[in-house]
């Protein structure tokens, strides 16, 4: 449903804009990596998924987590460092997760989610389920060895696994064209899996590709690879603003903004429909922010909690 796709994309966009404001206002600590411009990828792929499917995400993870169904207010609470946050204020942006929804976490390490998703994909099949797993990663991750190791394992074991490459043209400041020998889909195809290239600014195109890949996986035919050509409209992270890295031109950004995935989809809908959804998203976010701000901060006395599932608390930095 277009309205669902649009609602999700709009939620991601407005969530990210809200987050940037909160980071700049020091209400959110650290840095965050915005998904602005890439909404169609997470939205299109997750539209092809079931609740019991598993995803692993990246440092740029908010979009995937929203699209897979996490509660926005608990996400915002997490980023504000509140105990009502998805991760009880222990994770923040780079580790945000909702394991109960099959969201095995954003990840601070490029490509590290790939083998984790492979393990989940294997486990699903072992359990007799036809559920699938998806690993999201960027163009930069295509040069991480562990991704290749995982593609090979997925190939030989015919794992129900989707590799979704979000090619936004850059790894921080380094252009994918300069970083990558050969083509991205060519690499995946070498592992003997279906590998396609889609317009990552068109959520319906992404969804269609994902549905094909998911069906392939559910049927027991193994992994697939989807390269989504996309773009981030803002800096690598919230701190880039002040950095003047100068690796791309304003014109390039403008050119891509014309293909804003929200606009692309909105043009296929009625203005009223869009306006109603926009309003709905504003209310959701306003409510989420209020919820997050009212939520309690963690107790310092609990700082060593949740390190181990069993066994003693870790030692403190001073003797008792």
């Amino acid at each position: 449903m277009r309205s669902d796709l649009y609602r999700t994309m709009r939620t991601i966009r407005r969530f990210e804009e809200q987050v940037v404001e909160l980071v700049n206002a020091n209400e959110i600590a650290g840095v965050t990596h915005e998904y602005i411009g890439q909404e169609a990828v997470a939205t299109g792929v997750c539209a092809a998924l079931r609740p019991d499917d598993v995803i692993t995400s990246t440092h740029r993870g908010h979009g995937h987590v929203i699209a897979k169904g996490a509660e926005v207010r608990r996400m915002l609470a997490e980023l504000l460092g509140r105990t009502t946050g998805l991760n009880r204020a222990r994770g923040g942006s780079m580790h945000i997760a909702d394991v109960s929804l099959g969201i095995y976490g954003a990840n601070g390490i490029v490509a590290a989610g790939a083998p984790i998703a492979a393990g989940a994909a294997w486990a699903g099949r072992e359990a007799g389920s036809d559920r699938v797993a998806v690993v999201f990663f960027g163009d930069g991750a295509v040069n991480q060895g562990v991704l290749h190791e995982t593609m090979n394992m997925a190939g030989i074991w015919k794992l129900p696994l989707l590799f979704v490459c979000e090619n936004n043209g850059y790894a921080v400041s380094f252009a994918a064209s300069e970083a990558t020998s050969g083509s991205i889909v060519g690499r995946a195809a070498a592992y003997d899996m279906p590998a396609v290239h889609v317009d990552g600014m068109d959520v319906e195109a992404v969804q269609a590709a994902a549905e094909t890949a998911v069906a392939h996986a559910r049927a027991g035919d193994g992994p697939s690879f989807i390269e989504c050509e996309t773009y981030r409209f803002v800096g690598h992270h919230t701190a880039e603003r002040t950095m003047k890295l100068g690796y791309r031109t304003d014109e390039e950004i403008e050119r891509w903004r014309e293909r804003d995935p929200l606009r692309v989809l909105a043009e296929r809908m009625t203005p009223d429909e869009v306006a109603a959804l926009d309003g709905e998203v504003e209310r959701l976010l306003a409510e989420a922010l209020a919820f997050a701000r009212e939520s309690p901060r963690p107790a310092v006395a609990d700082a060593r909690e949740y390190v181990y599932a069993s066994g003693p608390l870790p030692r403190e930095g001073v003797s008792a």
Partner: protein, 325 residues
């Protein structure tokens, strides 16, 4: 009671636990053929779904185990040689170990990493002679180093059952040793030290294969009227500080016998904690591996490893000395 071989004890533990719990499986290089003996015979009984030969892709199969663990399994990951832990360092210490904290307790990550043959073994040279358990303790990963067959059985069982990542180092030098064992050996809890020999004069903390050497030295020193208590922490993290305190409170003297590099090794940690927290009648000593990679020639290898003679000298040394002020 029969004498159980250390390596067979590991295999027995895995078999027992795979029998008891269908979520347990093993993966790693050549585990079907069982190059290292831990998975001997298992593929015949449990099939290729639970005894998984992996490509030479340590980073990926280590991460894979974590994903399977999050999805409800209890994987055992076998590393053919200790330095493969370096290749898989990131997925262990930065992913599996931190996941529970990072998610605020949403999940547990019950993976066991086993290195059946850690440490030097005469002529395997620098890249195959590490015994890197202190690195994992530094990184907060639960770590066990069983010294005997019964402990190998019991700690492997507990590691698999534990809800957190655990690294088990089986020293190469003890794989062939035997110990009296009951019909059905038992789990040994993590974090529980073992007094191998009671004594009054000096506590010798020994780890892994060095427990056997420490017992020999204790025997030898007994002939000179020196009463050595040989205490094995068995798990490095969590460490049985209370058990050690009890021993040191009795003896007042401490020597640590540890086959990791000296700097920031386990012996250093034990000395530091003892110096801070325990009553010591004399400065503690440690006998460790030198801070160097192991050269190929066996005489050079030996020269860098902690020896019985060094331990005996250190024990005599702490008896001679009082805390200087």
């Amino acid at each position: 009671m029969a004498r159980m071989r250390y390596q067979a004890a590991l295999a027995r533990a895995l078999r027992d636990e795979m029998t008891a719990d269908p979520s347990v499986f093993i993966l790693g290089e050549d585990v079907r053929a069982s190059l290292r003996g831990v998975s001997r015979g298992l593929v015949a009984d449990f099939g290729r779904q639970r005894v998984i030969d992996t490509p030479i892709s340590e980073q990926a199969f280590t991460g894979f185990a974590m994903g399977a663990a999050l999805a409800g399994h209890r994987p055992v990951v076998e590393f053919q040689i200790p330095s493969l832990l370096f290749t898989a360092f990131e997925p262990i210490v930065n992913q599996a170990q931190k996941f529970r904290l990072m998610t605020g307790g949403q999940a547990k990550v019950p993976v066991t990493y086993i290195v059946p043959g850690s440490g030097a073994r005469r002529g395997l040279a620098a890249q195959h002679s590490d015994h890197p358990y202190a690195l994992f303790a530094q990184a907060g990963v639960k770590t066990v180093v069983p010294a005997t067959a019964l402990d190998a059985y019991g700690l492997f069982l507990s590691a698999i059952r534990d809800d957190d990542p655990v690294v088990l180092f089986a020293p190469a030098a003890v794989l062939g040793t035997r110990e009296e064992a009951p019909e059905q050996p038992e789990a040994v809890p993590l974090g529980d030290g073992r007094v191998h020999r009671a004594g009054d004069d000096v506590t010798v903390v020994a780890i892994g294969h060095l427990v056997h050497d420490a017992l020999a030295v204790a025997q030898e020193l007994a002939e000179d009227g020196i009463s050595v208590e040989v205490w094995d922490p068995r798990s490095i993290l969590p460490f049985d500080w209370e058990g050690l305190r009890a021993s040191v409170e009795k003896t007042g003297r401490l020597v640590v016998f540890d086959d990791t590099n000296r700097t920031c090794g386990l012996a250093g940690e034990v000395l530091a904690t003892a110096a801070e927290e325990f009553p010591l009648a004399a400065p503690p000593r440690r006998v460790t591996r030198a801070d160097a990679p192991i050269p190929f020639a066996v005489e050079l290898e030996e020269a860098l490893l902690p020896s019985r003679a060094q331990l005996a000298a250190a024990v005599r040394g702490v008896l001679d000395r009082e805390v200087v002020r």
